[in-house]
Amino acid sequence: MKTHFLFPNSFKKIGWLLFVPSFILGTYLLLSGFDFENSFVVKTFAIFKDQIIFKSTYFSFIENGILDELITVLVIVGGILVGFSKTKNEDEYISKIRYESLVWATYFNFGLLLFTTIFIFGIPYFYILVANIAAMLLFFIIRFHYKIYQLNKATNDDE
């Protein structure tokens, strides 16, 4: 059966190479209170930037620390490639496991988000929202690969 909307298998390795280092680096910098705003400052194009003291700007070049943007892009692109590249032996059962993992990850992610929205306040909640950029992809990747691992193990145990 044809599988749709998936990248070729060769993209999976690239995905891991982008996702893992950037995820670890991002988590570490965020938790260690790294000053993203004033590091790696370059001129970048902004569709919109609000400023507390000055007027907000639209469609202009601004000074911005780009490390947080860079890490976010790498985590998302890497995560998408890991989660949505075909496995070596992709077939309809593997695809089914992928879609089920995606549904599971969606429930789990929004369950956590609901819980933290109700019970966590202030700056910690801000961190949770930042973490949520990658959380669903992460839950999906873990769940999918765990299920594939279980499946491989069950198949090999039968021999």
Binding site: M1, N89, D91, E92, I94, L151, A154, D158
Partner: protein, 66 residues
């Protein structure tokens, strides 16, 4: 839905691995079907039927819960 893939495979004396290759799926999928953990698509069911030269109903059987 139950199936007798394991029996048919034994009669043909073909391994899960070889059957998987012939049909164009992973060995995991053949294994999962034999254990009743996975219900194949119509396409896959028809491919298996063609391989074993039997009607689909001779391989797959509905259960009362289906």
């Amino acid at each position: 839905m139950t199936n007798n893939l394991k029996v048919l495979r034994a009669i043909k004396n073909i391994s899960q691995e070889d059957l998987a290759k012939q049909i164009g799926v992973s060995r995991q999928t053949i294994n999962a079907m034999e254990k009743g953990k996975y219900v194949p698509s119509t396409v896959l069911a028809l491919k298996l039927a063609r391989f074993f030269e039997k009607p689909v109903e001779d391989i797959f059987t509905l259960e009362t819960t289906d």
